[in-house]
């Protein structure tokens, strides 16, 4: 157990039950998990906590995932943070928009928990 390498993951989603499942999954993988329930909160926590990765839902109150993604990428202090976008809208345009805005990867809901964990680990270089 090398706690120095414990990665910080921020989950930004307004769906309570999805947050619970993600929290459980990532916690089981040994990550430090933070939760935000809307876009503004997600941006604030990202700036305060400097997580290694943000799991970003697109459809959120107050500020949507795309805007959060854009804001994160515009922040030089957060240039290293990896962004994995999650959305229930699986259209091509949404995917390319997210990637265009600087997201590192994109997954559509409902997702396979295994694939999600693999993706998260890959993004974190583990």
């Amino acid at each position: 157990m090398t706690t120095t390498t414990t990665k910080k993951v921020l989950i930004a989603d307004d769906e309570q039950n999805i947050v619970i499942s993600l929290e459980f999954l990532l916690g089981r993988e040994g990550f430090q998990v933070l939760v935000a329930q809307d876009g503004e909160e997600a941006l604030a926590k990202a700036r305060a906590e400097k997580p290694d990765l943000v799991l970003l839902d697109v459809m959120m109150p107050k500020m949507n995932g795309f805007d959060v993604c854009q804001a994160l990428r515009a922040d030089p202090e957060l240039s290293a943070v990896r962004i994995l976008m999650l959305t229930a809208k699986g259209r091509e345009t949404e995917v390319s928009k997210g990637l265009g805005l600087g997201a590192d990867a994109y997954m559509t809901k409902p997702f396979s928990t295994k694939e999600l964990v693999v993706q998260v680990r890959a993004l974190l270089g583990l």
Binding site: D14, E15, Q16, N17, I18, I20, S21, L22, F24, L25, R28, Q37, D38, E41, M59, P61, K62, A88, K89, G90, R91, T108, K109, P110, F111, S112, T113, K114
Partner: protein, 934 residues
């Protein structure tokens, strides 16, 4: 002293003056400086309508029937004011087809039929002869009265008087000679007589002047104005009835038929046709004539009644014929100058009528009766004869003499039995027979030669039987039994009560039966067969006269001819010089250097035919041209094709315009439909996208928890329980979502089932509250009901309203703060019906969000609270339900002050309910694509 030499000298001098005017007019016309190219002259010449019948006869009729003389002038006034387009069409047609008479017009219209032209001529001659007799009667009467000056003696012609001792006979001869001088000095291609028209216009001026002079003299000289005459009449019981202005009963029929007759006469009398149509210089003149001619009629009638009443007052108890009042009143007061003026005025009226009428009739007799017969009988001889123009002139001169002698004969036979007016009306009724064939011919393509023949014959026979023969019988030239017992003693055939029609004056009676027979036969026989090629081509020229800019006749002829033959042919009838001049003018017009350069094509043949038509009538002209030109007969189909070409072009362009307009409209409709479709498509996409999103969300949780549980059998019991519980609740959410989505789709597409019944809202609310009480208890909230009794029932779907109430209540609970939550449910009667309110003390809804919450899948949650576990369809569905029953649902709220949802349902009669459904259905139904035209 008015001695006979003075009278004769004055008459001859006046005729000389007329002749001088005519001669001058012709000279000027030949020099190309027409003196009649004026609408005023045209209108004045039309006043040839006013003959001695007007000049002397109106007063006579007024003395018997008060204003009964008026219809004779009312008819023409109405025709000129309202029916001028008929005249315009006649003028245009006649000019385009070189038509020279009414017989020519009718014959030409029905395929250039000789038979028809001949029949019209015969009817015109027989019909108009009484009218000419009338002029002779009036002139000889006025002369014989004048010769007794200053004594006033009524003329009494003895039956046994030999013809050569009868002044009327000599008057007829003088008039014939004068007319021959006037009208038949040379032949003209167009058969126009400018000099004559000028003389006629002058005569119209003279007769009006004379009549007004007498009128003023009687009204203001003998009496003290209109009022004075009226006063004197009022004191005389016999005369009072004359001032009864309004006719009644039989009078109306009589008025009506006289007005109709006179209206037809002003169009179809041969002399009116001659002046108004053939002699018309410029159709624009019609415009002024349309009011100037009626004005003339008005002026010449102003003093009729005063003169008649004045005469009756003055000559009370003496044997003075009212027909002579115009002359005898000035005589009685020894007004020599005025008497002479009146005589000249009467002479004007008579000579004007006789000249024009006999010229018109002689043209018809020559072109439509004699020429066809000659052509038929001695075709070869005519063809060989070098110059026929003298023959033609001879025929016309003979015809003039013949017609005037016929007039004299009628005068001898029947003249005494009738007053002037009655004689004139017989002629009017005769020419009225032309109306169906004329008017029908100008407006109905279906009329045929046989139809016109049948109509004219039938009408003419009825006219002769009911009007002409009785006039002979009344004069003693036929047995009187004929009148009283009918033909063969058959009562149904009583000439003036035909088939038992009685109670009408003889003119109305004749008009009714003759028109009945005429129109009936014309239409019925015409309908027996389709028009032939010749009839169809002529029908188009006539019916479409106002549409064609140029005559289309040439297009309807196909064949070859030799130039020399054509010139020779025309030369034979018009004289070689005139013929060459006419062809030279034609060549000049075409831009050719001379006659030799002309090609004998269809147009030239047409021109030659029209030149001939002017001289010998269209039917004969066609026969003559056919003798030198090799015409290739056109089939009916070909004629129709050629005729259709022009009209088809118009039709095509109209069709094109119509099609293009249709196309534009269709394009616009398509575009709109497309936009609507795109909008619908976008809405559908949005909806699908929203549904997908809403479905994916619970699925995500369910899948995640299921995989967690599946992958890790050793997971703690507490977590396992919690995750399974979440899976169950997400499944429930999914189910609810599917149900509501389907529900919404059903409502929106109009396929939802509605079960309307009488509902007690108070009970329904209580029921809903009971069903949700568990939710309230769980949240520690209190609910307060404010439901008064005795409110009326409403008509709606019970289950659907429960659904609305449950939605509002659960919505309220969802947002209540824990433990201190309060919900107040109210019910009250309001203006629109019953109002239900559900008020909570939750966080309230921001103004911007108050509209959003009623949109599909739009939930507004507070960041501090959990996202509400709704589907985002509850409120939209509730609103739809309320609206379905004609109500509305809305929210009132301010952030922090709770929210109150209210809905109103109308106390609706069934009709309003249907209405609401209908409106909604209409709003929902997409406009159908105009598929049929695309």
């Amino acid at each position: 002293m008015l001695a006979s030499p003075v009278i004769v000298a004055a008459a001859l001098l006046y005729l000389g003056l007329l002749f001088a005017v005519a001669w001058w007019g012709d000279k000027r016309a030949d020099a190309g400086r027409s003196i009649i190219a004026s609408p005023t002259i045209y209108a004045l010449s039309m006043a040839v309508y006013c003959t001695t019948w007007t000049f002397y006869g109106s007063v006579g009729r007024a003395a018997v029937s008060g204003i009964g003389f008026l219809p004779i002038y009312l008819g023409p006034t109405l025709v000129m004011a309202l029916g001028w387009f008929l005249l315009l069409k006649m003028i245009r047609t006649a000019k385009a087809n070189r038509i020279t008479s009414i017989a020519d017009f009718i014959s030409s219209r029905y395929g250039k039929s000789h038979l028809l032209g001949g029949l019209v001529t015969i009817i015109a001659v027989i019909g108009v002869v009484p009218y000419i007799a009338l002029q002779l009667k009036a002139v000889s009467g006025s002369v014989s009265i004048l010769l007794n000056y200053p004594e006033i003696v009524m003329p009494h012609r003895s039956e046994t008087e030999p013809v050569f001792a009868d002044m009327s006979f000599w008057i007829a001869l003088i008039l014939a000679a004068f007319t021959i001088l006037f009208g038949t000095r040379h032949l003209d291609a167009t058969e126009r007589h400018e000099g004559m028209v000028a003389a006629i216009a002058l005569e119209s001026g003279v007769k009006l002047l004379a009549f007004l002079a007498v009128g003023l003299f009687v009204t203001y000289g003998m009496y003290d104005g209109f009022a004075d005459i009226a006063d004197r009449v009022a004191q005389n019981a016999d005369l009072r009835r004359l001032s009864a202005a309004v006719p009644s009963g039989q009078g109306f029929t009589s008025w009506f038929s006289l007005t109709v007759l006179a209206g037809l006469a002003v169009l179809f009398l041969p002399r009116q046709f001659q002046i108004a149509v053939v002699e018309n210089v410029n159709e624009a003149h019609l415009k002024r004539a349309a009011w100037l001619f009626p004005l003339y009629l008005l002026l010449i009638n102003v003093f009729v009644l005063p003169i008649a009443l004045g005469g009756l007052l003055h000559f009370a108890g003496r044997d003075v014929d009212a027909d002579t009042f115009v002359l005898t009143l000035p005589m009685a007061l020894r007004q020599e100058g005025l008497t002479l003026l009146v005589f000249i005025g009467g002479l004007s009226a008579a000579t004007g009528m006789v000249i024009v009428e006999t010229i018109a009739l002689s043209t018809m007799v020559c072109n439509d009766l004699v020429m066809p017969l000659l052509l038929r009988m001695k075709r070869l001889a005519l063809d060989e004869s070098k110059d026929l123009s003298r023959v033609l002139l001879g025929i016309r001169r003979g015809a003039i003499l013949f017609i005037l002698l016929l007039g004299y004969l009628y005068f001898r036979l029947a003249g005494e039995a009738y007053a002037l007016v009655a004689i004139g009306l017989i002629s009017f009724a005769a020419v009225a027979q032309f109306a169906p064939a004329m008017i029908g011919g100008m407006y109905w393509r279906g009329g045929t030669r046989e139809g016109a023949l049948a109509g004219l014959s039938a009408g003419f026979l009825v006219w002769a039987y009911t009007l002409l023969l009785p006039s002979f019988a009344k004069s003693g030239w036929l047995p009187a039994d004929f009148l009283t017992q009918g033909l063969f003693g058959t009562e149904l055939l009583l000439p003036q009560q035909l088939f038992g029609l009685s109670g009408h004056d003889e003119i109305s009676h004749c008009l009714f039966w003759s028109m009945f027979a005429n129109i009936g036969c014309y239409v019925a026989v015409s309908l027996l067969r389709a028009p032939t090629a010749a009839e169809a081509s002529q029908a188009t020229l006539f019916v479409d006269a106002l549409k064609h800019a140029r005559p289309a006749g040439a297009a309807l002829w196909r064949g070859r001819a030799e130039m020399a033959d054509l010139i020779a042919l025309v030369g034979r009838f018009l004289g070689p010089l005139r013929a060459r001049a006419a062809f030279a003018a034609y060549a000049h017009e075409r831009g050719a250097a001379g006659i030799d350069e002309l090609e004998a094509d269809a147009e030239l043949v047409q021109f030659a035919e029209s030149l001939l038509a002017g001289a010998i009538g269209s039917a004969s002209a066609r026969v003559m041209v056919a003798s030198v030109a090799k015409e290739e007969p056109l089939s009916l189909a070909e004629v129709m094709n050629i005729l259709d070409e022009a009209s088809q072009l118009r039709t095509y362009s109209r069709e094109l315009e119509r099609k293009s307009a249709e196309l534009t409209a269709a394009t616009r409709e398509l575009k709109e439909a497309n936009e609507r479709l795109q909008e619908l498509d976008r809405l559908k996409d949005d909806f699908m996208s929203s549904v997908t999103h809403e479905l994916r969300t619970p699925l995500t949780s369910i899948r995640a928890f299921s995989e967690i549980l599946f992958d890790d059998p050793k997971i703690g019991l507490a977590d396992r329980q919690r995750f399974l519980g979440l899976i169950v609740s997400e499944t429930e959410r999914l189910t609810r979502l599917v149900n509501q989505t389907l529900d919404m789709a059903k409502i929106e597409s109009g396929h939802a089932d509605w079960h309307a019944s009488e509902i007690d809202l108070k009970e329904l609310i209580a029921q809903s509250v009971a069903a949700t009480s568990q939710l309230f208890t769980e949240k520690g909230a209190r609910i307060k009901l404010d439901l008064p009794d005795g409110l009326p029932l409403i008509r709606a779907d019970h289950d659907r309203l429960i659904q609305v109430m449950l939605n509002l209540l659960s919505n309220a609970v969802k947002f209540l703060p824990p433990d201190v939550g309060r919900v107040r449910v109210g019910l009250r009667e309001c203006a629109g019906g019953l109002e239900v309110s559900v008020a909570d003390n939750g966080p309230g809804i921001a103004p911007d969000d108050q509209a959003v919450i009623f949109e599909k899948f739009r939930q507004v949650g507070d960041s501090m609270t959990d996202k509400p576990a709704g589907t985002g369809l509850g409120l939209p569905i509730s609103r739809r339900i309320v609206e379905h029953f004609g109500g509305r649902l809305w929210v009132e709220s301010a952030p922090g002050a709770g929210a109150t949802f209210r809905f109103v349902l109308p106390l609706a009669p069934a009709g309003a309910l249907d209405m609401a459904e209908a409106t909604e259905a209409m709003a929902r139904a997409p406009a159908p694509l105009p598929a049929s035209r695309i």
